[in-house]
Subunit: 315 residues, 2 copies
């Protein structure tokens, strides 16, 4: 038996990483080796005490046990630690060439009802009427006729329909639209509301212990897709919403924020089938071509410039 194979504080990560040496799947081996190195570096950095380790074991156990068919507490944990957003961002780099993505969230659990452009998706007679519209294009500005535009949002009380079965009409504030020949879509809705993520479990306890609020700023979810192009999962955020600078799940990107101005124009209101005055939200979406190479990570000093460029293109 050779000494270096035995555990020591100094070599702990090497020893554990070596135990994965015979992993048949090279990617699994890579991921686990990296995980072990970062996990051990964390424990050493803070010199985690045995009591703290016990608290962590208990917290993780309760997080698993809080999860069921309609509640995924580990996704919430990933969300509030910014991990969901980081994975999303790494896997959908755009660098100004297309609409930025953000988290899917847990409320796209039902298929959105098919609707015609112009339809009203607000079925519960609450909230501030809003005309939502936009155009779906490719990276050179080519209109994507027939693109599918899947949207969902909270009602005036800050809840999705699936959170209030029997209170909200089924399919309230959801819709699957098909863009017209010019890639354009429009529909009637209400201004979305900010809302808290579920905070009655371990993740809520973590937020409370760290004086963090559980709220997400007001947003409208989109999944936009067209044949031959990469789909995007994203939100548009309401520019005057509270919590825009402190989203509990870190989903806000500057390029995704839009003002929702009031329009006072009886003729336009009447034409759109809305009461006067009403609000308007415009969100154009650009998709990458499916055959475009996935952008790689850029050197840190180059990235912010490119991202600001993106914001200019989008708004």
């Amino acid at each position: 038996m050779s000494l270096p194979q035995l555990f020591s504080e100094e070599h702990s990560a090497d020893v554990v990483a070596a135990s994965f040496e015979n992993t048949p799947d090279p990617r699994l081996k890579q991921v686990l080796s990296s995980l072990v190195r970062h996990l051990h570096a964390f424990v050493k950095d803070v010199e985690l005490t045995e009591d703290e380790w016990g608290v962590a074991i208990d917290f993780l156990t309760r997080t698993g046990q809080m999860s069921n068919d309609v509640r995924q507490e580990f996704i919430l944990l990933s969300d509030v630690l910014g991990v969901s957003m980081l994975v999303e961002t790494i896997n959908h780099r755009t660098y100004g060439a297309s609409t930025e993505s953000t988290v899917l969230g847990p409320f796209h659990m039902v298929e959105s009802p098919r609707r015609e452009v112009g339809d009203n998706i607000a079925l519960d007679d609450k909230g501030t009427p809003c005309l939502v519209s936009g155009q779906v294009t490719g990276p050179e500005g080519e209109p994507l006729a027939g693109a599918s535009v899947d949207v969902w949002q909270t009602n005036e009380d800050g809840f999705y329909d699936v959170q209030q079965p029997g209170i909200q009409p089924a399919g309230n504030l959801r819709g699957l639209f098909t863009a017209d020949e010019q890639g354009r879509f429009w529909f009637r809705s209400v201004v979305p509301r900010h809302y808290p993520i579920p905070d009655d479990g371990p993740v809520g306890q973590l937020l409370a212990a760290t004086s963090r609020h559980p709220h997400r700023p007001a947003h409208l979810h989109f999944i936009v897709a067209a044949p031959g192009y990469r789909p995007v999962t994203t939100h548009v955020f309401v520019a005057d919403s509270p919590y825009l600078d402190s989203d509990a799940v870190f989903g806000v990107k500057e390029s995704l924020i839009r003002a929702v101005p009031e329009v006072d124009d009886p003729a336009r209101a009447s034409g759109a089938g809305l009461p006067n005055p009403f609000r308007t939200l415009t969100f154009d979406i650009t998709l990458l071509r499916a055959d475009q190479a996935r952008p790689a990570a850029q050197p840190a000093q180059v990235q912010p410039t490119l991202v600001r460029g993106a914001s200019g293109v989008m708004s």
Copy 2:
């Protein structure tokens, strides 16, 4: 709203760490900030895909849900990733001044029955008879009269009594002894056996996917304590056991390995109340004084020398 507060791939860890800025408990703030930095560095290092993230969420959820009153799958996960051993080692640094610690393990769930030195703890008439003995001293070699010596081990089939209720007699292969005036203890037992950790859950799946076996080398657990001294939780490992260089939970330290030689001496056997021949296991234990400062981490290049010194003191 200022740009730096919004999430970006480049600044992700800063943005999330900043969200913990108002945490009232400074230690919690420190631990979470460090956790976030290491977790995000891991995700970036491997460019974790969305599918892999989903597998991780599912794995962690099942790990929580596998746990109950008699099974703690998250501790097992911590064990097979070397985290339990790292936490144990960081919190019980010895640098040659005392017996090294190792993991407590999950099987010290019952109080050990009080026994007199010389008693036989093997109640199931199985296994290879073994005389276990040792002396408990302080750092200057002073004998610790009346030290408590709590021991537990597997039987010949590789199970602890609590794993086989109704099959093994209650309290089989456990004992709480009081050392004599010279700090000496001795008792009759059998040579411990190697055994697998529970591998019918998510952690077992992880081991299988990485071609790792679930076994721990043969060992005897000790918790040794004396008033005015720091208690130690440790094992003594059997030198000719399989898996000594590949303990599934990384618990082996060189200073804790002992040969278990056979003694063929009818007079000694008769005196000890054992059949001839029998095996002997000698494990002397040195405790730090309670008022001794907890040793701090040493520079990496100094540490191996000190650890080898410890091994010389102990064996």
